[in-house]
């Protein structure tokens, strides 16, 4: 085998860590079944994920010119199926840590014992897909990894077993099937247009130069953007998001909102990276329209939500638009801004869902006066919301918004910049509305914080997430420096 491709196991470690976790959990379950009372599956999985994240961060410090490569074909072709530069490595670490956070929230929710192994296995499998898709540079790996990141998530939603969860799972399943079909179509068209099974800028440039192949390539990009748009919750492919978020448990919601979005964004970055430098204004329109629609629809609907989870679901849709805004510039600065944005969003969202899990609040009204009843949870939630709104003291939120707008402004994509301006203002209204509830005086019936003692691992997630937001707010370079 080594004659055909070279394999560097350490480079593959971020994806192999969750695989190892799956093996450990399954073997362990065979030896000592969880339904007899073992509660070790989720902690073991979390440890493996954190170890994988540490290994992934190794690549974040590298020079972008010399990324970690492996699974390389022999010369003269020399293409590598796995290429992880600093940006990819940091995104991988983000996926792994977000999945670990989801596991922690699951752990505190006291799932039925027979579910823990299944939950851990599904989560680890989806994480493997998410990590792999970020580094995939060929159509086959990319497609398989992206599906691996999605399908277990559908099962996680259904696992709860309620009728509502089944509905949520069903809509998610139908959506992901449709998106899979689109992605396969897109991949086929891409192959037809470029004659290359890898995402390489050179073959895209060659295809773009030929008008006939360009038309096919545009069609391919349309299908691929739509397919990833489902997973990223871009309007008009967003309809499953609020339903799935609201019907499943918070651990899974956190996974969908943070880890899945990171994987989807990483997948989109792989496609757009190949288009940078050659593609023209048609692609800008293809990316700009869903971005602007998500920004506007997501924030406007979020403005009317009273259910905390639904508000965060619609805010996810708006934030997905923000992730795509810098990509419309089709520049390498735009790629970095997009990665920075999605990482910041994931950290803030993880903290927000962590707080909801810790306090048990599901509506805005239930968080009334949280800043006084439970200063840790209230403070963390307020900071996370301000980061999402892009207001100091959540400086990192403002910085990534500035970077996100800077890319299209530098390239003169004014309509997207205009939509972003409107979305900033509406977004501030959305998040400050909730912050106002948090800082309000507690009502008569509100009891002091509860569940605080039981939700230990969730508290760890909240504290660590808040620490990340604070550090990156003071030194935004700590985040952006790891993106090349």
């Amino acid at each position: 085998m080594s004659t055909l491709v070279t394999v560097d196991w350490l480079v593959l470690a971020p994806a192999l860590a969750p695989v190892l976790g799956v093996v450990l959990v399954l073997v362990g379950d065979a030896v000592s079944p969880a339904r007899r009372g073992g509660r070790w599956a989720l902690p073991v999985a979390a440890v493996v994920l954190v170890a994988g994240a540490v290994l992934a961060l190794r690549g974040s410090l590298l020079d972008p010119a010399t990324p970690l490569r492996t699974l390389c074909l022999p010369a003269p072709d020399g293409a590598c199926l796995w290429t992880a530069g600093p940006r990819t490595s940091t995104l991988q670490a983000g996926v792994l840590l977000a999945a670990a956070a989801a596991l922690a929230v699951h752990h505190d929710a006291r799932p039925r014992l027979r579910d823990t192994t299944v939950t851990a296995t599904l989560l680890l499998a989806a994480t493997t897909g998410g990590v792999a898709v970020a580094a995939a540079r060929d159509l086959g790996t990319w497609l398989v990894a992206l599906e691996l990141a999605t399908v277990p998530a559908v099962a996680l939603v259904v696992l709860r077993g309620t009728r509502a969860a089944a509905h949520g799972g069903l809509s998610l399943l139908v959506t992901s099937l449709a998106s899979f079909a689109l992605l396969v179509l897109g991949a086929g068209l891409w192959l037809t247009a470029t004659g290359d099974a890898a995402f390489s800028p050179e073959s895209v440039a060659a295809a773009w130069a030929d008008p006939e192949r360009r038309a096919v390539l545009v069609l391919a990009v349309t299908a691929l953007v739509s397919g990833v748009g489902f997973k990223l919750s871009l309007v008009p492919f967003h309809a499953w998001t609020p339903q799935a978020y609201a019907t499943t448990d918070l651990g899974t919601t956190l996974f969908l909102a943070a880890a899945s979005k990171l994987s989807a964004a990483a997948a989109l970055l792989v496609v757009v990276e190949a288009l940078v430098g050659s593609a023209g204004s048609v692609v800008v329109v293809l990316l700009g329209l869903p971005a602007a629609a998500s920004l506007l629809l997501g924030t406007v609907v979020a403005l009317r939500q009273d259910d905390a989870v639904r508000l965060l679901a619609w805010s996810t849709i708006a934030q997905a638009g923000w992730v795509v805004v810098p990509l419309t510039a089709l520049s390498s600065d735009g790629l970095r801004a997009s990665a920075g944005y999605v990482l910041t969003y994931a950290a803030a969202t993880a903290v927000a869902f962590g707080v909801l899990a810790r306090t048990g609040a599901r509506s805005l009204a239930a968080t009334r006066g949280l800043l006084r009843r439970d200063p840790l949870a209230g403070g963390a939630l307020a900071l996370a919301l301000l980061v999402l709104a892009g207001l100091p003291p959540g400086v990192v939120g403002l910085v990534v918004k500035v970077l996100a707008v800077a890319a299209p402004v530098a390239e003169g994509v004014w309509p997207v910049a205009a939509a972003a301006v409107v979305a900033v203002v509406l977004g501030i209204a959305v998040y400050l509305r909730w912050v106002a509830v948090l800082v309000a005086r507690p009502g008569e019936g509100d009891e002091p914080a509860h569940e605080g003692s039981r939700a230990r691992s969730t508290t760890v997630v909240v504290v660590l997430g808040t620490a990340v937001l604070l550090v990156t707010s003071a030194l935004p370079h700590a985040l952006l420096g790891g993106l090349g």
Binding site: D333, R336, P375, G379, L386, L391, P392, P393, V395, L398, V399, V402, L403, V405, A406, V409, A410, A417, V421, V424, V425, I428, A429, L432, A436, V439, R441, P476, H477, L480, G481
Partner: protein
């Protein structure tokens, strides 16, 4: 180093007061806030005297540096800000509004001060924007939580309106700054002012200038964008009103000088006539509203709109005198409005409301010290010679009368005439207020007397009134500081 400390001290203490030290009782919190304000003032003097600066890498991705320092344009505003920091923290001995813990209230005041200092010392366009945004959330808390306790709905609305209007402005400005930075290739304000911005093509200059002017006009506020100001002032607690009028509005005019005027002078020059007309209309409109307004706090808010009209008109004139007038009028309005808001806040605390339609005993008889401060404030507001307000208005009208060569003279001269009429309106409404409040009715022996000012409030009022007189007598104190820096600003000819 000293500059970083100047920003870090109020920011750190403010953050601690709103988070960890939230439950601190009022007495230690008050002393802590006051001592912080004193230390900040000391540091500010140190920065101004030593001309300290700091410059390190902060966000290399966007070419943004952690670059703070002062020059002639920012020195008066930095000193005004630390002075207002002292005023509002000292004012906590007079009034700490209900609505939350006293520590949070004082922490928010310090955070606003820190944000304003960062805005006035930032030497980088993007950093300026970040600093500009820092004041939003604490000010929102001050208005929304600690504002007028009678009407929670109005409070929420005023706070929301303040945040959203300002956010529209700053986001528009953000796009302008990013376009400028992308085209000029640097975010350093000194390089941009030194010719990097002027190198842009005429179309780009015009576009950037339009975005920057519209964005900052919301904050100033210039006439069609002013509607957030009166409700915010009416509901904000006294200390919040003082900061809003004396510091936050100045961030808008300072931004106009630093960004469009200095970096894209030709683009700004083409927009200047529009700005001049908006300024002149603001003067007249503010004056007319003040003639009929019943709520005294709202009346002073509208008079701020009128005074800011003079500043904008002076900026639009494009001459060096105009810039000097704008910077001077900025400081003068800061002092006068602070004096008036402390005074009216005190009256509101004593009377429960400041409705001018309610007949009350004459202030000059029941509480002569309050009455005297009111007369000084109103006189300065109407531009009486010998007080601070006079020089700003005089220089502004003069600058508009003799604008720079490339400005349309007819438009600006017309605006100067309109502004002069507006100044007469100011005299009319100031006399109206003086007649109703100061001269008032003969005291009814049955009516409760208005307690006169004592303790800290007296010293705060005396200090502000004294400064208003000093600046009026010796305007060169400010003008000589700004003169050199103004000469180097690209827009001035």
């Amino acid at each position: 180093m000293v500059v970083s400390l100047l920003l870090a001290v109020p920011a750190a203490v403010g953050l601690w007061l709103v988070s960890g030290g939230r439950a601190l009782p009022v007495r230690p919190a008050r002393w802590l806030a006051l001592l912080t304000a004193v230390a900040t003032a000391g540091l500010a003097v140190g920065v101004v005297v030593t001309e300290a600066a700091v410059d390190r890498a902060w966000l290399p991705e966007l070419g943004v540096r952690w670059s703070f320092g002062t020059d002639g344009i920012s020195v008066p505003l930095v000193l005004l800000t630390v002075l207002m920091g002292l005023v509002v923290t000292a004012h906590a001995w007079v009034e700490v509004p209900a609505g939350g813990t006293p520590a949070t209230f004082l922490g928010c005041l310090l955070l606003v001060e820190a944000g304003a200092l960062a805005t006035f010392t930032a030497r980088d366009a993007v950093l300026f924007l970040v600093a500009f945004e820092v004041v939003l959330v604490p000010m929102w808390v001050l208005v929304g939580r600690y504002g007028d306790p009678h009407d929670p709905r109005a409070r929420t609305e005023a706070a929301q309106r303040f945040v959203l209007y300002t956010a529209v402005g700053s986001t528009t400005m953000l796009v302008g700054i990013l376009a400028l930075v992308a085209a000029a290739g640097t975010a350093d304000l000194r390089e941009l002012a030194g010719g990097a911005g002027a190198a842009l093509g005429p179309g780009a200059q015009m576009g950037v200038a339009a975005l920057l002017v519209v964005g900052l006009a919301v904050k100033v506020p210039v006439l069609p964008f002013h509607t957030w100001l009166p409700p915010a002032h009416t509901t904000a607690p006294t200390a919040g009103s003082v900061l809003l009028a004396a510091v936050l509005l100045k961030m808008g005019t300072y931004g106009l000088v630093r960004l469009p005027v200095a970096t894209v002078p030709d683009g700004f020059g083409r927009l200047a006539p529009v700005l001049a007309v908006a300024g002149a209309l603001g003067i007249v409109w503010g004056g007319l509203v003040c003639l009929v307004e019943r709520d005294l706090k709202r009346l002073i808010a509208y008079s701020s709109v009128a005074h800011m009209g003079f500043v904008v008109l002076a900026l639009a004139s494009g001459s060096e005198t105009g810039l000097q007038a704008a910077l001077y009028a900025n400081v003068a309005h800061g002092l006068v409005s602070a004096l008036l808001f402390v005074l009216v806040g005190g009256l509101k605390q004593r009377w429960g409301d400041v409705d001018l339609a309610v007949r009350r005993p004459a202030l000059r008889e029941t509480s002569p010290r309050l009455g005297f401060a009111l007369v000084i404030g109103l006189a300065a507001s109407l531009g009486l010679p010998g007080l601070a307000g006079f020089w700003g208005e005089l220089l502004a009208v003069y600058a508009a009368w003799a604008p720079a060569a490339d400005r349309p003279r007819a438009v600006l001269v017309t605006c100067a005439v309109v502004a002069a009429v507006g100044a007469a309106l100011a005299a009319a409404y100031a006399l109206r207020v003086a007649g109703l409040v100061w001269a008032g009715d003969r005291p009814d022996p049955e009516a409760r007397r208005t307690a006169d000012t004592v303790g800290v409030e007296r010293w705060v009022l005396a200090g502000l009134a004294g400064l208003v007189v000093v600046l009026g007598v010796a305007p060169m104190l400010v003008l000589s500081v700004t003169a050199d820096a103004v000469a180097t600003v690209g827009g001035a000819r």
